[in-house]
């Protein structure tokens, strides 16, 4: 038992700091990714053939770009984007340096998740609103996005979990976070306890996020 408290004394501050960093990375890049991904998802749905703003060019090019980004594993994307990140953000280190690659990785993913969520919305309801003489942009926001909320929440939950996985890799470019701690101390310095603790923390975080996501989604469903 004494050993356990010794461990906490020794590593507690470090792990706490890393948890905070992970939360920072996840929340900042999540918000930016949603701001980019949700409109892209909407665009993918409404420019689809036979939809309100049917536009083959936008739809196809968006499709291709998203597919290209989604085919690159995050670790490779991270290194590929290093010069670009340095140019845009001024640094490629720390939490600040890793937000851009995380967003580039997550936004297209969210766009796809939003696309599938929005496609589930009953076409008849959209039509009923069109028949009432309501503006298309109002229909998109007040009907399509509103009705898709439960699926949107579940989609974002999936994205957050993917994002947490990605932040672990971001440790490799010196971004900090739980993944970084686990890798540096657990792997490079042979301190397996630290690795186990971070793994347990990650498991708890993921479980909590999924449960919260499920609860929020079922509340939004109104069943």
């Amino acid at each position: 038992m004494a050993n356990f408290f010794d461990q906490i004394d020794r590593w507690g501050g470090l792990i706490w700091q890393a948890t905070i960093e992970t939360f920072q990375m996840v929340s900042i890049s999540l918000i930016i990714s949603i701001i980019i991904g949700l409109p892209l998802g909407i665009l993918l749905v409404i420019t689809r053939p036979n939809k309100s703003y049917n536009n083959k060019f936008i739809y196809q090019s968006l499709n291709i770009v998203i597919n290209i980004i989604r085919s690159i594993p995050f670790i490779i994307l991270l290194f590929t984007l290093l010069p670009f990140t340095r140019f845009i953000v001024g640094t490629s280190m720390g939490v600040r340096g890793v937000i851009l690659p995380l967003v580039v990785f997550t936004a297209p993913y969210i766009a796809r998740l939003m696309e599938s969520a929005l496609l589930e919305v009953d076409r008849g309801v959209l039509e009923a609103y069109e028949a009432m003489g309501i503006k298309t942009r109002d229909i998109i926001w007040h009907v399509m996005v509103r009705e898709a909320r439960p699926s949107i929440i579940l989609g974002i939950t999936i994205a957050v979990i993917g994002l947490i996985g990605a932040t672990a890799m971001a440790g490799l470019v010196g971004a900090g976070g739980l993944g970084d701690v686990a890798y540096r101390f657990g792997h490079l310095r042979y301190e397996p306890e630290v690795m186990y603790v971070t793994i347990i923390i990650l498991i708890i975080i993921i479980q909590a996020i999924q449960s919260i996501g499920n609860v929020l989604a079922s509340r939004a469903k109104k069943d």
């Binding site: 039509e127 003489g133 509103r146």
Partner: protein, 341 residues
């Protein structure tokens, strides 16, 4: 009120050069204040027709004139304005699942620019009319089909339109609920003078509330007129099939064959006042014949009785001929029943 002039709608199919003609040169006029029904089997083009009236489907050619406005000539903004004056209800209700009854009516009002102060009053008023004031904060999935359709009707009425389009609004409902929704539509028509154009595949709907009817087949209107005229004197086999669907009294061929040897089997159609004349018993008194009723039925059209009676007349040829002649003179429509092909 609603006028369709030579409306044609072509759907391009995926294979180039193959087009499906959903509507062929349809001409239709719906007068102010009436309930006009379009009936046809599925695939006849009824749905396309009703969707052309608010331009959910744009006709390939022809004109749609609603309230004096030619919809094809309007800008997008004008079309939206015009649509706000045309309510529509659907077979699938099409309510927001994530909003309660109140919001389902209030949200579209807000989005069409009704001032917030007026929204509450309107929601309450129209929920009251459809009889759902106590369900204000209930979500659609807790409502029955009939209640959902009532919410949809309240939603349509809350925009205070001149016209209500109904796309198979009762087709997903059981017979009892169908009747209550039809009564509601009739009430709306009478109290607010809203013109209703409805499509259906159920003869019952036409019979109960429609003033005039059009029968559709293969994208064309094959017959139209006052319900009573079309019912009592169908010109096409499709219409005849629809009419006979409300008189389920097919007499087996064997019986017809056997009886026909001893005198004609006749079907008498009574419309309005003639429906309550004791025609057959008069016949037996005036002529030397015996009549034997095989089947009979009387239904109430919107506001007039409409009956059919099938009887076997026994007697000498001369007497039965005289008897039939007498019936025709009395204004009863007589037709001889033959063996069904």
């Amino acid at each position: 009120m609603i006028e369709l002039k030579n409306v044609t709608k072509k759907f391009e199919s995926k294979k180039k050069g193959h087009a499906i003609l959903a509507l062929k040169n349809v001409n239709l006029t719906v007068n102010q204040g009436e309930i006009f029904g379009v009936i046809g089997y599925s695939g006849a083009g009824k749905s396309t027709l009703v969707r052309c009236v608010n331009f959910l489907e744009k006709p390939s050619s022809g004109e749609v004139i609603v309230n004096g406005q030619t919809l094809g000539k309007l800008t997008n903004d004008q079309l939206r304005q015009a649509r706000q004056n045309i309510g529509m209800i659907f077979q699938g209700f099409n309510l927001l699942k994530t909003a309660n009854v109140y919001d389902n009516i209030a949200i579209p009002l807000k989005l069409t620019g009704i001032p917030a102060s007026e929204i509450k009053a309107r929601v309450e008023k129209y929920l009251n009319i459809v009889g759902l004031s106590d369900k204000k904060y209930v979500f659609p999935n807790q409502l029955s089909g009939g209640q959902k359709q009532r919410v949809a009707i309240a939603r349509a009425l809350s925009h205070e339109p001149d016209i209500l389009l109904s796309d198979e609004a009762t087709s997903a409902l059981d017979p009892e609920t169908t009747d209550s929704i039809l009564n509601l539509l009739l009430k709306i028509n009478r109290e607010f003078g809203i013109t209703i154009l409805l499509i259906t595949h159920e003869m019952h709907v036409i019979q109960k509330i429609c003033d005039r009817v059009a029968v559709m087949e293969n994208g064309e209107i094959i017959e139209q007129g006052n319900v009573i005229d079309v019912y009592s004197d169908p010109q096409t086999t499709t219409t005849e099939r629809f009419v006979s669907s409300i008189f389920p009294s097919d007499i087996p061929n064997e019986i017809i064959e056997e009886l026909a040897q001893r005198g004609p089997i006749i079907q008498l159609t009574f419309v309005g006042e003639s429906a309550d004349q004791p025609a057959l018993s008069m016949l037996a008194k005036k002529f030397d014949i015996h009549s034997n009723i095989l089947s009979g039925n009387i239904v109430q059209l919107k506001d007039r009785p409409f009956g059919k009676l099938t009887a076997h007349i026994q007697g000498t040829k001369a007497e039965t001929d005289k008897a039939l002649h007498y019936l025709i003179e009395q204004g009863v429509k007589v037709s001889e029943v033959k063996v069904n092909g």
